[in-house]
Every structure is written in structure tokens, then in C-alpha cells.
């Protein structure tokens, strides 16, 4: 147990000093936090529950638009802010900015949760690839439709309120870094707490055999919806933060970015190892470092690389890094392996 405490305090300390040790990497670190949140919450569906969703991007985008809208709408007429002409310029005072952001983030987290609860019953009744495609459709439809709504900027996009002039040049980066780091801690603690309860076992039962789980008297639908609502809560939060960080919201390219974020979160979770607590965290970190480190050197070829990467990961490493480690060093995961049994299995294969 003492080792665990050591580990967690090491991470927290690293997280707290990181923006000051690596000031140039603040934005990348903030994005890393958001990515980890997304991968971890995707894992609740895709890893633990066996419901491979492409639809969590819906909550992320919703959160992004809601946070920005609330932040503007609390103090100024939203329609004039987003009106494409932009003849008038409104400036948030620092107090307004932070109040708006706080309320916006709460709304950004709560509303998607409610939405998940409302649509959950209909959508989560689908299984397997029907669920996957349905959620894919949901995400893309949300992007297309929000691109037609005038009040949130439609095709013009939505410029989020600029950071007020408080503190130094680094204040904005630090603010968003700590916001996203806080969201990360919150998500991780919450998910870890959930995983230590019976809830995780129920989700795993649904993944392994939903009919049998139902036959045993578990109200699977209820748990599936609750699981989705948890994901929606944190995805919405992450979206709200990301909106402020990027500073400009576009319906299909930033908010409901199913082609990138929507796929990335799946990929990161699979890369790290789905169905584990640490897998998505490691997957997201590796993915992000790889992406930031090597992406720019490809100058144009990065999507070719991404396509190949997806195919290779999916075909050759469907168990991910954690799965691979587990296979290699089962003892370290506290598993006891019967050598005879293992041999028998190898022969069977």
C-alpha cells in the first residue's frame, strides 16, 4: 500500500511542478490531461462494459459549446457575440471571466450527463457493432446540426472569451493547465473509486455475457446508463476546458471532432490496454508523446502514419501495452499461472 501512496504522490507532485519546470510545454501537457480523461472515460464503456462507443465525442462537444455559451451568455447577449458580423466587441472583466468559466464548467458537465441519461435507454439497447455505428452517427449528426444553429455561431465558429489581463504572460497557460490537471485528478479518483466497487464487476458481467447477467437478476440497463452518465459527466467537463484552451470552436473540426478526437480516444484506450485502470492513462501518454514528438516531422505524411498505426495496433496489439505486460510478466500483476495449464493451452492453440 505504501508503494501506491508513493506512486500517487509522485504523480501529483510531478503534475504540480510540471508547468514551472517545462513552461514551454504547458499547452501540450494540458491537452495530455484532457486526452487521458477522454481515454479513461471511454474505457468505462469500451473496456469494462464491452460497448464500443464512438459517441462520447457527443458529450465532449456538447460540453464545449455549453461552457462557452454560458460564459458569454451570463454577461452579454449571446446572439450578438456569435453574430458573424461581430461589429460589437465585448470584453470580460477577470471576475466575469472566472465566474463564467466556473458556472460554464458545471453546466458543461451536468447537461451532458442528463442527455446521456435521457438517450441512454434508447441507444444502449443496441449491442455490438450496431451500437458502435449508431453512436458514430450520433456524433456526426450532432456536428452537422450544430453547424447549422445560428446562436452558437453556426458555420462561422464560436470564439470563446479571451483570457482577461491578469497575471503575466504565462497566466493563461497555467490557469488552463491546472484546470485540466484538476479535471484529470477528479476523473481518475472517481473512476478508481467506482472500479473498486461492485459496479465494475457488474459492468464486466455485462461485457462477458449480458444475457446471463440479466438472467442473474442484474438490471443491466440501469448500470449501462449509469456508466454512460459517468462518462458523459467527465467528457463534458473535458470539452468545456478544451474549448477555453483552444479559444475557437468549430462544429465539426473542434467540438464534434469524431474523425480525430472520437477515434483517438478509442485508439488510446486500446493502445494502453482496455479494461484496465492504468491502460488508458499510459496509452494516452504514449500516443500524445508520439504524436507531438514525431507528427511535425512527417509534414503531410502523418495521416498515412496514423492509418497504418491504427491498422497495426488493432490487428497485432488488440490487448494493448498493459495486456502485453500482463502476458509477459503475469507474476507482477499478482496472477499465479499453472505451468501445466499454460502448456495445455499453447498446445490447444
Amino acid at each position: 500500500m505504501s508503494k501506491n501512496i508513493l506512486l500517487y504522490s509522485a504523480i501529483v507532485i510531478f503534475g504540480l511542478v510540471a508547468p514551472f519546470v517545462f513552461p514551454a510545454f504547458k499547452v501540450q501537457l494540458s491537452i495530455l490531461c484532457v486526452l487521458i480523461v477522454l481515454a479513461t472515460t471511454w474505457n468505462i464503456q469500451g473496456g469494462e462494459m464491452g460497448y464500443n462507443t464512438f459517441g462520447n465525442i457527443l458529450f465532449y462537444g456538447l460540453g464545449m459549446y455549453l461552457c462557452a455559451s454560458v460564459q458569454v451568455g451570463m454577461f452579454f447577449p449571446l446572439a450578438e457575440w456569435t453574430e458573424s458580423g461581430g461589429e460589437k466587441t465585448f470584453v470580460h472583466t477577470p471576475a466575469q471571466f472566472f465566474q463564467g468559466m466556473a458556472v460554464g464548467l458545471v453546466v458543461a458537465a451536468v447537461v451532458p450527463t442528463i442527455v446521456a441519461g435521457l438517450i441512454g435507454y434508447a441507444i444502449l439497447g443496441l449491442r455490438g457493432h450496431y451500437f458502435a455505428i449508431c453512436t458514430l452517427g450520433l456524433g456526426v449528426a450532432a456536428g452537422e446540426i450544430s453547424g447549422g444553429i445560428e446562436i452558437i455561431g453556426a458555420g462561422q465558429g464560436f470564439t470563446t472569451p479571451p483570457f482577461p489581463e491578469v497575471g503575466g504572460l504565462e497566466a493563461r497557460g497555467e490557469f488552463f493547465y491546472f484546470l485540466s490537471f484538476g479535471a484529470l485528478i477528479l476523473t481518475f479518483v472517481a473512476v478508481r473509486a467506482i472500479y473498486s466497487t461492485r459496479f465494475r464487476l457488474i459492468l464486466n458481467a455485462i461485457r462477458d455475457n449480458e444475457d446471463k447477467a440479466e438472467a442473474m437478476g442484474i438490471e443491466t440497463m440501469k448500470y449501462k446508463i449509469i456508466g454512460w452518465m459517468v462518462s458523459a459527466f467527465f467528457c463534458g467537463l473535458a470539452g468545456g476546458i478544451m474549448g477555453g484552451l483552444v479559444g475557437y470552436i468549430d462544429s465539426t473540426d473542434v467540438a464534434f471532432d469524431g474523425r480525430e478526437m472520437g477515434v483517438f480516444m478509442v485508439l488510446m484506450a486500446i493502445l494502453g490496454g482496455k479494461g484496465t485502470l492504468w491502460g488508458p492513462v499510459i496509452g494516452a501518454t504514449v500516443f500524445h508523446i508520439f504524436k507531438e514528438g514525431f507528427w511535425t516531422f512527417f509534414l503531410g505524411w502523418q495521416y498515412v502514419a496514423l492509418g497504418v498505426l491504427i491498422v497495426v495496433i488493432v490487428i497485432y496489439f488488440p490487448e494493448g501495452i498493459m495486456g502485453w505486460l500482463r502476458e509477459k510478466y503475469p507474476e507482477k500483476f499478482g496472477e499465479v499461472i499453472d505451468e501445466k495449464d499454460r502448456k495445455a493451452q499453447v498446445e490447444l492453440k
Binding site: I11, L299, G300, Q302
Partner: protein, 412 residues
Amino acid sequence: MKITRIILSFISAVVILFSTSVTSFAKVVGDKIVLGAAISLTGKYSSNGVHTQNGYNMAVDRINSMGGVKVGGKTYKFEIIYYDDESNPKRAAQLAERLISQDGVEFMLGPYSSGLTKAIAPVTEKYGVPMVEANGASRSLFTKGYKYLFAVLAPANLYLDVAIDLAVEKNNGKPVTVAMAFEQDAFSQDVRLGVLDAIKRTGSKKVIDDKLPKELNDMAATLVKVKQMKPDVLVVSGHTKGALTAIRQIAEMKVDVPMLAMTHCDAAKLSKQHGKNSQYALCASQWHKTLTYKDNFFKDGMKYAADFEKEFGYDPPYQSAESSAALLVFKDAFERANSFDQKKVRDALAATNMQTFYGNIKFAEGGQNVDKPMVLFQVMCDGSGKCENKVVAPTKWASAKLIHPIPKWSER
């Protein structure tokens, strides 16, 4: 928990990786002035992104080979760090941050498209990095009070309002009916606003106001409405795909309108792809090679077009010309500021008043170029089916007379 050790070692690996990645501070190294630019090399804007990049490169080569930039008695050469923004605003904002905070770039060039410029502007503004951009025309860029943003091009709302004025003029000053179809993106929506203003000003009436999706490749529904309503003017804007789709379907459905005005005709190579079907289309353009502006580097538009063609093998669209002009503006500002201090360069930029082959450049308070009108050209074909873009408005540069109204399909 044995797994702890694995994770701990993993984290330390991350820490080491972060701390060893050296941040290089480039800005002005030796005799080089390093500019940063995020350009769309992949994604939906990649062809226009390449036009932009070619324009930048062309100007950099030209300026460097003609003596470079003289600051404080020393000559410097331009160099550009390019990143690929994947046509994605989120990525563009990240890359701007990266260029400034990690690569130490102190001066930026703009990306392609209004949406991406909108994403980058808050970042450059925050760090006080002067950015001269050549491809973000959306009006909302210039009303946000940005101090470090300068655009060599006229704002998007001026693209097509001339066309409405022209239609009213041809209608003996009486109001006209207008049908509009605009893509759902920052640029096209701004063009729409300009048209709306013009409609209001001339007391005209809009009869159709459609928005086209980004994945547009079928606008039959809009055109059917046009056939029903018979407006005097049809205005279409949706980057290159809007222009191509509109011409194809107008020809196929035999839609008769007296005036057809659009954007992005030259980038879409309209006259080449559609030949005679594109005849009579009116196109808004920031620049045309026959305009008679002059400078010391590229001489004039015709010379620029010839040089560009020699280097890259195609006729330069205005996206390339305006990108080249951005570099000329930077050079001029550096020399007048006689310093690499960002504030001083910014003030010098704000005081710019010069002529380039691309047009006169003088920035208003908001950063937009106010000294350069838009031109309208019309696609005209001769008997053998060879089509050319001829400037028809404003009259100062007109090389041909506007053909109005467009002959009916049954009479062509």
C-alpha cells in the same frame, strides 16, 4: 502491487523525455530572420494551403536573392518554419503555441482560411507576436480589437457586394431579387453578410437564402428553387467545391439567371474544368494578373504570373499572390522599424503604406487592408471554346465589358 514499479519507471521515462527535448530559441539567428507558419498541407484546405506556401516561398527566394532585409546596417535573410495544421483549427492553435513558445518564433505568417486564422489570432495576440496574414478574410477577425494581426487582403464582406451594386446598376437603379447559397464556414458566411448589407443598401430583396453543408456535392435542391423564383442574381460561395458544383448543376439543369456571381473561380480552375459551361460567371477576386500595380521585386502582375508559372508550373491564383505580398510587407516593416523588437515592428506594420504588385497596402485600425478594392472578373469564351477570365469591374481596371444579362441556355 507489483505493477506500481512498472508505472513508476514509465513516469520517470516520460520525465526524462520531456527534459531532454531541448527548446531551441531561433527568432533571429545569425543572418536569418525566422518566421513561423502553420499551413494546411493535408486535409480539406490542402490545395489552397499549397498555393499559400508557394506564394510565401516565392517571395522569400526573391527577397533573399535581391539583397535580403537590411536592419541596423546588416543584411538578413528570411527563413520560414512550416508546420502542417491539417486544416484543423484546434491543431493550428496548438502549432502557433508551439512555434512561439518552443521554437521561439517572434514573427508569424498566417495560415490558409478564415477559420484557422481565427484560431491562431488569440495565441499570437497573447504573446504579442506580429502576424501578417494573407488568407483570413472574415470580418470578425478585424472587429475583435486584435493589435498584432495584419491582413493584406480586403475583408470577406467586400467580396460580392460589388456584384449586387452592378446588378442594380444594370437594372436602371431599380432593386433586384437575389438568391443566395453559401457554405457553412467562416469565410462564406462572411461573404453572405456583405451581400446582405448590399441588399439592404440597395433596397433589394432576397428570395432564397440557403446554407450548404461542408461535404457539399449536390445543390440541386437550391437550383430547383432558383428555377421557380427566377431571381435577378444568384450568388454562390463555397470555396472551390461550391463553384464547381454550382456550374455543373446549373448547366445540367439549364437554370437561367441574368447574373451569376461566385467566389474561388480561379482556384477552382473553373474555365479549365468546365469550359464553355462556366461562361458568363462573375467571380470575386482579391487580385488579377492584369492589374497595373507595381513594385521593385516582382515588377507587376504579369511578370509575377510568368515567374510563378516558371517556378511552380501553373498560373498563380490570388491566394499565392497575396501570400507573396505578406512577405513584402514584413520586409518593408522590418526595414522601417530598423529593429527586431516586436513592439516596434508592430508599430511599423501599422504604419505601412506601400504599393506591391498585388495592390496598395495600408492597414486600418482593425488590421484589414483598406487601400485595395476587390475586382470582379467574368469568364469569357471565344468561338473555339477557349475561356479566359477578364476583369469587368471596377471600371478602372476593366479589360472587357460586362455581358449582362446572361443569355438563356436555349439561346446558347
